[in-house]
């Protein structure tokens, strides 16, 4: 029995142990950066191995507050891969003050741990605690940056907005508890569809969701995103833009599934948020000068696309959203990875700083181009297939106009992505900049990312089947 529970909790345990090891590495006065990096990389690799071993496990833990199913394990794998990728581009960690390198990795792992706990939590309090574990880790990670005070401003902003979102969420949870008399999702799922038309239930659910809308940066909960992306170290921004979003998508799926798709009002509200996020994110992204701010606004738009899959409340729509969060993790990470590798001293990049990239490093330029085309939803990339699936989900429910709006938005977004591609491929840098040296492992990482973005774009079958099985289990399981 113990052994079985141990297996169920394996991915989380790996992360817990990793966090402990890193904690001890924080203690010495003089730290060896190379050793810390190597240890962190090895631990992140172990984390992926743990998540892989955890695939296929099913069961309950901690008085049924914690559910291990295919749905949670798929997301844990996505999260573990995201952590590994982020650690992979932390070599040297030029953007973070030297004495905090071990702390940086420590909080990266606790954050990852919190997210993993989150996707398995099926009880409101457990969920809240898991969410706060990941949030507080991020509150610390954001201001760890070296240099200007931009990071402190971003950190404070993130902290305050985040805490407000948490409060709102707790308030919402209290309503849900009030109307359903339980904090277990399984119990709520039995009762909520019957009472969702009551204002209290509706408000409770919307307020609870807003905590995750905040994480996903859905309009109007997106105000932190551009400042935090800009203020945080590039690697931290990459982490927030990938892992954090995937976890939020998982929870939004779990929580919206509670309604059983019975409330039309609820879907209408989600639809408004979806359209507003896509349109506002894309339009504001057009005028951005800094690449991280541009990516922040584009993440608002992508939150809208994911929401389109979620609001269908159907198996196809949910699995499309799962697929999309995987796709988004890959392509957004690829874009951020290029930013990290080009900003060798950890500085923020303006779009115009990418000028001449095709000469300085053809590989990075190619990765960037494919990542951006993928974000714009151009085939044969994973971003296209993700959008295709999400739109298919919406069309299945008969939301023809929503799909049309989504496609128009995709065309708008192409404009600003093309501007970045133009900078990287067409513009010549004013000063003759030296070629960028990309180390062999990082070259390999770029090749892998390109291959993955194209592979999942052309052959979505395997992962889609997995996502569908996961969603089916999640919807019908309880």
């Amino acid at each position: 029995m113990i052994a079985r529970d141990f297996m169920l909790f394996l991915p989380e345990l790996t992360y817990l142990v990793a966090a402990l090891i890193l904690f001890f590495m924080c203690l010495p006065q003089k730290a060896d950066h190379k050793a810390i990096y190597a240890v962190a990389l090895a631990l992140a690799g172990l984390g992926v191995a743990g998540a892989l071993l955890g695939m296929g496990q099913e069961g309950h833990l901690f008085f049924d507050a914690y559910q291990v199913d295919l749905f949670s394990q798929v997301f844990k794998l996505i999260l573990a891969v995201a952590v590994l990728l982020v650690v992979g581009i932390c070599h040297g960690l030029a953007g973070v003050e030297d004495r905090y390198h071990a702390d940086f990795f420590l909080f990266l792992f606790t954050c990852g741990l919190g997210m993993m706990l989150m996707v398995s939590a099926v009880e409101l309090m457990t969920l809240y605690v898991a969410l706060e574990l990941s949030s507080f880790s991020l509150y610390i990670l954001v201001p760890l940056r070296r240099g200007d005070n931009l990071d402190v401003e971003a950190g404070v902003k993130y902290l305050f907005i985040g805490i407000t979102a948490s409060c709102v969420m707790l308030f919402g949870m209290s309503y849900i508890f009030g109307v359903s008399h339980t904090t277990y999702l399984a119990g709520i799922m039995d009762r909520l569809p019957l009472i969702i038309q009551q204002p209290a239930a509706m408000i409770g659910l919307m307020l609870t969701l807003s905590g995750f809308f905040f994480k996903l940066a859905v309009f109007p909960f997106h105000f932190w995103a551009p400042d935090v992306y800009q203020g945080a170290a590039n690697q931290v921004a990459a982490f927030i833009a990938t892992a954090s979003k995937a976890a939020a998508v998982a929870l939004l799926i779990r929580l919206t599934a509670l309604t059983g798709g019975t409330s039309l009002y609820f879907i209408d509200v989600l639809m408004v948020l979806c359209v507003a996020s896509m349109t506002l994110g894309n339009l504001v992204a057009i005028v951005q000068k800094g690449i991280k701010r541009m990516l922040a606004y584009s993440s608002v738009a992508h939150a809208g696309y994911v929401l389109m899959g979620i609001l269908t409340m159907s198996e196809l729509g949910y699995s499309a959203a799962v697929f999309y969060s995987m796709a988004y993790m890959l392509m957004n990470f690829a874009a951020f990875g290029v930013v990290v590798m080009v900003a060798t001293s950890g500085q923020n990049l303006a779009i115009s700083d990418l000028a001449g990239l095709h000469k300085r490093s053809p590989l990075l330029a190619l990765t960037l181009m494919i990542a951006l085309f993928s974000l714009a939803g151009i085939p044969p990339t994973v971003g296209f297939t993700g959008k295709f699936l999400v739109f298919a989900g919406a069309m299945q429910q008969g939301y023809f106009w929503l799909v049309l709006v989504g496609m128009i938005n995709a065309t708008i977004s192409l404009y600003y992505y093309l501007m970045v591609i133009k900078a990287a491929y067409l513009s010549e840098s004013p000063a003759e900049l030296p070629p960028l040296v990309v180390s062999m492992p990082l070259r390999l990482l770029n090749y892998l990312l390109i291959a993955a973005m194209v592979y999942f774009g052309v052959c979505p079958g395997g992962f889609l089947d997995l996502a569908q099985a996961a969603v089916r289990g999640m919807m019908g399981g309880d």
């Binding site: 085939p379 044969p380 296209f384 739109f391 799909v403 065309t411 591609i421 133009k422």
Partner: protein, 486 residues
């Protein structure tokens, strides 16, 4: 299973692409040779397929069909019929001659040929794929390389032209994708197999909306008026081979999309909307001809004549008659070859003189007799001189257009007269008359560079003299289709 010849044709640029990607940037010779070899390979395979294609059998041939994504009903489904095979042939010819034409390129050679190979891979895919998912994927794959191709290697207002073109075309595909998903779910089959959906038939209301989406979505790329404005700008900005492929092949993708997706899936939609389509087509024919009159840039002239000629394709399709659709498909082929020859000749003139403004040129027939010959031949083909391929195509479209829509048919003929007038004026001013001394010493095409142009000219003559060679093939594909419009 027999040899998958269609996959082989499609993947030969793919293989070339992979090989080019792994070559060092400095090795320009190898990049060119690999590109030419992969183009040659696909041309040879296409010629073989064309030769063994059975024109007496109706329906699809060389079928390759593999279930790709089970849960959504996506198939890797390649096949050709009498409609798509001529277009595959067109692609092969233009691709091969285009690579050859760009032999002397020196700027960022590797990237140029890599993008071009990728684009052609997409074009082949569109003409062969009969699964809506893959068709759309290939469609976009053939479009987005245009942006870097024009913006990096182009001329006149290249960044503006590239951006306008890309956004227009992808806005078009923003209508196509909802259309595809719409018919997919309305059919209730959970299959993206185009033939399966077409065979099952869709409710009339679905066909009506679906056809409109496909007409305007694909119509943007076909240069359908009033969505044509990207096309002359894009043609002018693009480098020679890209103009060739773009005007010669890519615009046909749009017309092909309207035909294959719009008309196959929504025949009732065509019947309902054909007056609108015919009107827009005719406006395009006349408008293109009139605007062409006022142009002083050789490439703009060809660009607007393309709008006019592509209007003929749309008019032919809108008639929904056997002869009209036959003519439209033939016109796609003939216009493709002709425009490629046009741009290929202009490209040479521009490379040597660095101008394509008609008033600055003049007397070029004496300076560059070879380049001039090819341009004039293309111009004659465009006018519709008998014994050249376009003649038969235009004749068929006019006869049928006139029968179905007498008023529009008359206007279209008048439009063609105007375009003949302006073409002849361009030829007269550019190639005859006063010689501009500045360019008197500009060298003519070398014998090696004559070969690709001669291939194109040969195709125009061959199918002009022996139209049955093409019409029989086309008819075998069109005949089953027009049954649907009755």
């Amino acid at each position: 299973m027999s040899f998958p010849i269609l996959s082989a044709i499609m993947l030969s640029p793919g293989l070339g692409l992979l090989a080019v990607l792994f070559l060092p940037r400095e090795n320009k010779r190898a990049v060119r040779w690999i590109s030419l070899l992969s183009a040659g390979l696909s041309l040879a395979l296409t010629l073989y397929a064309y030769a063994v294609f059975d024109t007496t059998a109706k329906g699809l041939q060389f079928v390759e069909r593999v279930l790709w994504v089970k849960s959504l009903g996506i198939y890797y489904f390649l096949a050709v019929d009498g409609i798509s095979l001529p277009l595959v042939l067109l692609t092969s010819i233009v691709f091969f001659t285009g690579v050859w034409t760009m032999w002397d390129l020196e700027k960022r050679v590797k990237e140029f040929f890599a993008l071009m190979l990728l684009m052609v891979l997409g074009v082949y895919g569109v003409f062969m794929a009969l699964d809506l998912f893959f068709l759309f994927v290939f469609y976009d794959v053939s479009l987005f390389p245009m942006y870097p191709l024009i913006a990096i290697w182009g001329s006149t207002r290249k960044e503006y032209g590239a951006l306008k073109l890309t956004l227009y075309l992808l806005a078009g595909s923003a209508l196509v994708l909802p259309g595809i998903l719409y018919v997919y779910f309305q059919s209730g089959l959970f299959s993206f197999d185009l033939m399966e959906i077409a065979a099952a038939g869709l409710p009339p209301s679905v066909q009506s909306l679906g056809f409109l989406l496909f007409l305007f979505g694909f119509g943007v790329l076909a240069g359908l008026w009033p969505f044509h404005t990207w096309s002359p700008v894009g043609h002018v900005a693009a480098p020679t081979a890209v103009s060739m492929i773009h005007a010669g092949v890519l615009m046909k993708l749009g017309a092909y999309g309207v035909l294959r997706v719009g008309m196959f899936l929504c025949p009732q939609g065509l019947v309902e909307w054909s007056p609108l389509m015919a009107t827009l087509a005719t406006v395009g024919i006349v408008y293109g001809a009139l605007v062409g009159l006022a142009q002083t840039d050789l490439k703009y002239v060809i660009g607007y004549s393309s709008v006019s000629h592509m209007g003929l394709v749309s008019l032919g399709l809108a008639t929904g008659t056997l002869g009209g659709v036959d003519g439209a498909v033939f016109q796609m082929f003939a216009h493709g070859i002709m425009t490629a020859l046009f741009f290929s000749s202009v490209g040479h003139i521009y490379d040597r003189t660095h101008t394509k403004l008609i008033p600055e040129l003049g007397g070029m027939a004496k300076v560059m007799p070879r380049a001039s010959f090819f341009f004039i031949l293309a111009a004659l083909a465009g006018i519709g001189v008998p014994c050249l391929a376009s003649f038969w195509a235009e004749l068929l479209v006019f006869i049928n257009g006139f029968q179905v829509y007498p008023a529009l048919g008359t206007a279209a003929v008048l439009g063609l007269v105007v375009s003949a007038l302006f073409m002849l004026r361009v030829v007269q001013r550019t190639f005859y008359g006063e010689k501009n001394q500045k360019y008197a010493a500009a060298p003519d095409m070398s014998a090696v560079m004559v070969i690709p142009r001669a291939l194109l000219a040969g195709a125009i003559l061959l199918f002009g003299l022996l139209p049955r060679l093409m019409l029989d093939t086309i008819q075998s594909g069109v005949a089953p289709l027009v049954e649907l419009f009755k």
